[in-house]
């Protein structure tokens, strides 16, 4: 019997990271991901089980340790667990217990999407090559997250510091996202 559990092959596994003063770009470290949908009755308990209060402020992320919950909609969160984290296996059962029958939906999307980290003083400028949002700190402060477009790809964009963005996309769009940003960055990499 073969056991391939160690044969996991992350998207963007082969891309060389990009590092310059103006900008650096690297694939995200392995994470577990869930889409959580929940009625208000289930939210507080699930947040407690997760160890991260579910943000209720529009387009904001809450972080505790290596876990994060990103507000994507009025009843929708993207839950991220930086691996290794035992919660990747235990959280579904823990949420079920915590919710006490209040309706919610938890779907594992750890393999659906992955992402990259874009950082540096030119990060926002490079993003604005393909992202139509206003990324001024006043309009898109640290901690803000949203689904948006980069060129022709859907992305989830999360500002984790003034000059750092956490970007996720469905796996088949990731090569496009990476190449798009690489092309957009060219003029800043001299």
């Amino acid at each position: 019997m073969v056991d391939l559990i160690s044969a996991r092959r992350l998207p963007l596994a082969d891309v060389p990271p990009l590092a310059a003063t103006a900008l650096s770009m690297a694939p995200l470290l392995p994470q577990a991901r869930f889409v959580l949908r929940a009625r208000p009755a289930a939210q507080a308990a699930i947040g407690q089980a997760l160890g991260v209060a579910l943000p209720t402020l529009v387009c904001r992320a809450n972080v505790a340790g290596n876990r994060a919950a990103l507000w994507l909609g009025p009843d929708e969160w993207l839950v991220l667990l930086l691996l290794p984290d035992g919660g990747a296996e235990t959280l579904p059962a823990a949420f079920a217990v915590a919710a006490e029958g209040a309706p919610y939906s938890l779907v594992d999307i750890s393999h659906r999407q992955s992402g990259l980290s874009l950082s540096g003083p030119q990060a926002a400028t490079v993003l604005n090559t393909g992202c139509a949002l206003d990324l001024d700190l006043a309009a898109f402060p640290v901690g803000m997250c949203t689904r948006t477009l980069l060129g022709k790809a859907d992305i989830t964009l999360w500002r984790t510091s003034e000059t750092t963005f956490h970007i996720e996309a469905w796996r088949s769009f990731l090569p496009y996202v990476w190449q798009f940003l690489q092309e957009a960055a060219r003029e800043f990499l001299v």
């Binding site: 393999h111 090559t129 206003d134 088949s172 090569p175």
Partner: protein, 993 residues
Amino acid sequence: MTGQFRTAKGGRIDRAQKLLFSFDDVVYEGVQGDTLASALLANGVHLMGRSYKYHRPRGVLSAGSDEPNALVGLYRDKARYTPNLRAPCVELYNGLMADSQNRWPSLRWDIGIINDALSPLLPAGFYYKTFKWPAFAWKKYYEPFIRAAAGLGRSPTLADPDRYDNRWAHCDVLVVGSGPAGVSAALAAAESGARVILCDEQAELGGSLLSDVQANIDDQPAQAWLAGALATLARHPRVQLLPRTTAFGYFAHNMVGLSERITDHMAEPAAHLPRERLWQVRATEVVIAAGALERPLVFPHNDRPGVMLADSARTYVNRYGVKPGNLVVVATAHDSAYRAALDLHAAGVKIVTLADQRPSPSGPLIDAVRDAGIPLRVGTSVTGTGGGTRVRWVSLSSNGVSSEPVVCDTLLMSGGWTPSVHLFSQSRGRLRFDEALQAYVPGQSVERERSAGACRGVFGLAAALQDGAQAGAAAAKAAGYASARANPASAVGGEAGTGGWLGLVPGASPVKAFLDFQNDVTAKDIKLAVREGMRSIEHIKRYTTTGMATDQGKTSNMNALGVASGALDTPIPQVGHTTFRMPYTPVTFGAFAALSRDGLFDPARQTPMHDWAAENGAVFEDVGLWKRAHYFPKSSEDLHKAVDRECVAVRQSVGIFDASTLGKIEVVGPDAAEFMNRMYINAWTKLGVGKCRYGIMCREDGFVMDDGVVGRMAADRFHVTTTTGGAPRVLALMEDYLQTEWPDLDVWLTSTTEQWAVIAVQGPRARDVLAPLVEGIDISAKAFPHMSVAEGRIAGVPTRLFRVSFSGELGFEVNVPADYGRAVWEAIYASGQQYGITPYGTETMHVLRAEKGFIIVGQETDGTATPDDAGLTWAIGKAKKDFVGKRSLDRASMKGADRKQLVGLLTENPATVLEEGAQLVAGPKQPVPMTLLGHVTSSYHSANLGHSIALAMLSGGRARIGTSLFVPMPQGAIKVKIVDPVFYDREGARLDG
């Protein structure tokens, strides 16, 4: 050649930095800071182009983007040739190579000038009148002839090797134009703390200030003040200065398109820089400070090289250190030409005469001209020019009396100023005719914008500075910066002056009196159009083509209106004005495409097993954005040989297929089954956990929208699959219903298309291949029958294992988390080696399902097929109260016996493969148009059956089974037998291996 017309000092050029360039293969010398136009003028070259229709020799008319004549092609290399650039806008660089256009064999000796001699025969409307008959001649002669003659310049034939960029930007205040009004506006807005973008189409910011050597602002020379103001703006962290950037289009909700030219001015463009950048700016407030355009005077032969706009000549002298000529006549209807005369005079140019067509002009500028000793003739208009490819003399006329020709080498003219209302008008703002100014100016705004300075008729330096400062402060305040205040700079000099004239100069003939230089429209043409019944300026424009060239009539529209108004004896506001459209000046296709080219044109979606397929010789096909393995040819196999082999292998042993692109949606929540009942035609309540069902979804109109296998993973959890192409719209439709119709349902949808890699293993040996790898699921026929689903492990990896078949054989679909897809695929492939496991592509998948009569949504159905039409009535949950499309299916017309129904077709000759899309008719000898009864939807050669098969949608099809019809083709009609759509294993015995 040296620049014999270069002044000794002054201007914003660096005389020490010599630049060599060529124009029509003659090498010249220019200096840093020159434009191509200024450098050619410095070398005494005025002849820069030939006109479009009559091929008349033309010189440079202006010093800006309104230039209609001096259109040149710029050559960098074979792939980098840019036609139709305006010479005054081309920044000179060392090694620049330019050529003139629309001439053969040379600019000086051009054979097309024959059109000029024939011009009496080529009036406006010539083409409409001449090319009307005979009708057959249009396609054969006229159109090819017109096409050959049409168009200016030539396109490069190689792919564009340059890179282009895009930038989305937001600001509080966008200021368009950096003349005195624009700079003042930007300063006022920036001081308030607002985020400001200031753009200008020219290489340097400053607009008219760059040509001003007399005026003072805040007690400094105007250009020194400008330098200080720009330095102040540059220090503001929230101000972005964008020279070489044209605001070309004004779109809804203050979205303004800017085109930034980044490397065109460089002798050796840096490889890391894009050539151009498209800015898509969303501005809270916009200040338009676009300035005004000087009008030519309209009189015969006003288009001869050496005839220029007066203020442009002033720019050439003051900004570029170039004298347009040595012996200059100035003809004017406006004070501003006096300033040009004074500045040229000061630079050592001899002003032979200043002719003012106004009887008694007065004011400080007139006094200054008199004081300078420049001969002034008032009440005198210019009525003609003489010379060949350069003006040699001009005729002047006073009170209808012509004077002796005045010898000169240059004629400067000014008919006054036209506010540049292009952007305002693009923003859908309403124009207003100002009687005092005799000009259209911005009236009612629609967007959050305001105009400032000359573009709204506020002329003169001091007024423009003040107007700009007020507009900038008002814009910042409107954007929420309460502290915004206007502190306008004060100015001495740069007075507005008065005057102006629209249309034909008094006493001049309309013949060869050009209005639209680029499209060769004369005053005579406008009069002809009016005589022939055109009343609206929109009709006159289209009949004569005035204002329809690439310059959009910047220099000509108001004069054309003036002539039309006179000819119609109707005031200008009643004649109207034409529509201003984007782009203000031409924008390259590259800028619009930006990064969307080659590998970034579209995302090319690949499955986790893509690389394995590529390494194993797969030929890919595009399905939406996906790359799917189409077939796996061995050595020299073509598509048909490979597909025949793959089809036989699946039915005889086992095949492996990448089905990862199938759409997948996880439907979760206590109301999941209820939701499924409402969305799909099938019944779901009784589907047990661990079981699957083939689901069909209709739109509200009752027509089949999508299909796919659905597995019930838990009481409150369904694993729904959709077609590859339908995944996004199915999810969108489900969300739409959930959010708008049934927000009370406790159920949620999550796309899991890319969570799972899906490996289909199909064929009698499928179980044997998988059994050694599967843990935790008994996959025996008894424990895991057809349409089962279970969770377990395969090769140590978690799986959702489906027992389903789209081939009719014993089949499994192995779902594993995508990052394991390739490893599991390889493990299954290795396990299948002893059975000769065969990888197959989408074509084989299509043939196998057609052999079984399985439809593909979008191939058999076309958005007008009901479930019954597709032979799927059995799937409808009859006991259900409702589902999407149910009510529509109850309409009488949805049950008609003559509806197109799914059938199979067999040809008499087993080798004949029908054409998909071909029509079915009863008798092949009926007259055309024949009565069409149906059409072929799928057609293949079936290697397993040894003959061709086809599926068709046929009117009353099921009742016709057993009869024959015909497929009419160009080579003759093909007789076909109507049969049941299931061609292979009708009993379904093979599903159990």
